[in-house]
């Protein structure tokens, strides 16, 4: 039992140390969505986004544990490029589907509900230094221990993303939503271009 607590604590320590980086890395995907579709509830969007990240981390933990050191070598800049392109394409599609008005039923739209989940997953699997550190650590652990370690990492790093859930009172105006949709479009183009440039 003490060994399990130890790996959770190690993951949490890594999460605390790298949390600001995680929050900054999540910002380009999460904040435009929050601004654009705040009527669906910023707490709900943030929770779904974190759910997507949790799923990505669970997958990364299992993959790292079962593949040994292979995942660390396989997940290079190309993976980051593809994730960036996929995130941008998803956000661009969302902008065109729900572009100006979200007059009614926004909170019930399946695509909107799935959006933060998908973006959270894609952000979660994007290779970055904190994730690389966690993968390296998980590579030497058995499956359940790797999951626990990533659980600690996720919980601690998510603390830095959670304040986004409290943005609702600031995003009530139609102008904020309009700026959010424009940001969503601009950010999607940026992510696609940044991904394509990484592939060169």
């Amino acid at each position: 039992m003490a060994a399990y607590f130890k790996v959770i604590a190690e993951g949490a320590a890594l999460g605390f140390a790298t949390g600001p980086y995680c929050a900054a890395a999540c910002g380009p995907a999460l904040l435009p969505w929050l601004l654009a579709f705040s009527e669906a509830g910023t707490a709900r969007i943030t929770a779904l986004f974190l759910g997507g990240r949790l799923a990505a981390y669970a997958a990364a933990a299992l993959a790292a544990s079962f593949s040994g050191g292979y995942l660390e070598k396989a997940a290079g800049p190309q993976t980051a490029a593809f994730v960036s392109i996929a995130s941008g394409a998803y956000m661009l599609a969302a902008f065109f589907v729900f572009r100006w008005q979200c007059r009614s039923g926004c909170e019930r739209a399946a695509a909107l509900r799935a959006g933060p989940l998908a973006l959270g997953f894609m952000t979660g699997i994007a290779p970055c230094p904190p994730l690389a550190g966690a993968v390296i650590k998980a590579a030497g652990l058995p499956g359940p221990a790797a999951l626990l370690m990533f659980g600690g990492f996720f919980a601690a790093s998510s603390l830095f993303v959670l304040p986004a859930a409290a943005l609702q009172p600031f995003l009530r105006s139609e102008r904020a939503a309009n700026i959010g949709r424009l940001t969503l479009a601009a950010m999607s183009v940026y992510l696609i271009c940044a991904g394509l440039l990484k592939l060169l």
Binding site: T18, A24, G27, P28, W100, N178, I179, L197
Partner: protein
């Protein structure tokens, strides 16, 4: 992340200890705050060098020769604010000031040093964007399209510039709703709202609408009131003083660097 963040901290330490030639985030932030307190959003019209370029090119052709009538639908008017959020978020994620590195129009003059295919493509894209919005569109339309349509710093100033007391105000009683001010505004900051023009938060305090209004309904105000002294003269003096003081800090250095580059 920590390496980049520490780099900025080190840069700041150099700025404090190494003389005025070194710049750090805090010193630049302090300069910005001083300029904003004095000028607010009038910075864009009266002190910003990109604003000067935009203004210069927008006046090259006489009005009758301008083939383009630039208009922007109201939902797209907030593109500068969206681009500001984009630059902020992308800079945070990259831990680099991306606007200074890639978005700054001066990349047109210093970007050729970039190597690698990705860098060259980025350079080319930014140069094309700069030429279109700072040269071509202003010449063809007579509008300051970079300032009015895509400058994220303009959006930043439209938000934080509220701490400055200078305003361009419209007198409800004198205004006939002719729309002349909206057609004149070089940064497309005057919208028609319910038959009467509305001065939006993107107003650069350039004063063109004040000159053009046939009914004298628009004027400079300080804290919402007409001051006993000429508000425009006060604003222009502040603008020139701030622009001159800031420009003198690095323009001579930049010109000297360019001269050395040419000689080499």
């Amino acid at each position: 992340m920590s390496a980049n963040a520490l780099d900025f901290v080190y840069q700041q330490q150099l700025a404090f200890s190494g003389g005025w030639k070194m710049w750090g985030p805090l010193t630049l932030g302090g300069l910005w705050l001083a300029a904003t307190l004095v000028l607010g959003q009038a910075w864009c019209s009266w002190a910003c060098f990109y604003g000067g370029l935009d203004e210069g090119f927008s006046r090259l052709l006489p009005e009758r020769w301008r083939p383009l009538r630039l208009k922007i639908p109201p939902p797209l008017r907030d593109i500068p604010a969206a681009l500001l959020i984009l630059w902020l978020l992308a800079s945070l994620a990259a831990m680099y000031p991306l606007f200074c590195l890639w978005g700054c129009p001066l990349k047109m003059t210093c970007g050729f040093a970039e190597t690698g295919m990705a860098g060259k493509i980025q350079n080319a894209a930014m140069i094309i964007l700069g030429v279109v919005f700072i040269v071509i569109l202003p010449v063809l339309s007579g509008k300051r399209s970079f300032c009015g349509l895509i400058c994220p710093f303009g959006a930043w100033q439209s938000f934080f510039g509220r701490i400055n007391p200078f305003r361009v105000s419209r007198d409800e009683n004198s205004c006939a709703g002719c729309g002349q001010c909206g057609q004149t505004c070089p940064v497309l900051a005057i919208e028609a709202a319910g038959g009467k023009p509305a001065i939006t938060s993107y107003c650069n305090r350039c004063g063109r609408c004040i000159d053009e209004c046939p009914h004298g309904a628009i004027s400079y105000t300080v804290l919402g009131r007409k001051p006993p002294v000429d508000a425009r003269a006060l604003l222009v003096f502040c603008g020139l003083a701030v622009g001159g003081a800031l420009g003198s800090l690095f323009v001579p250095g930049a010109l000297y660097g360019l001269w050395r580059l040419i000689l080499r």
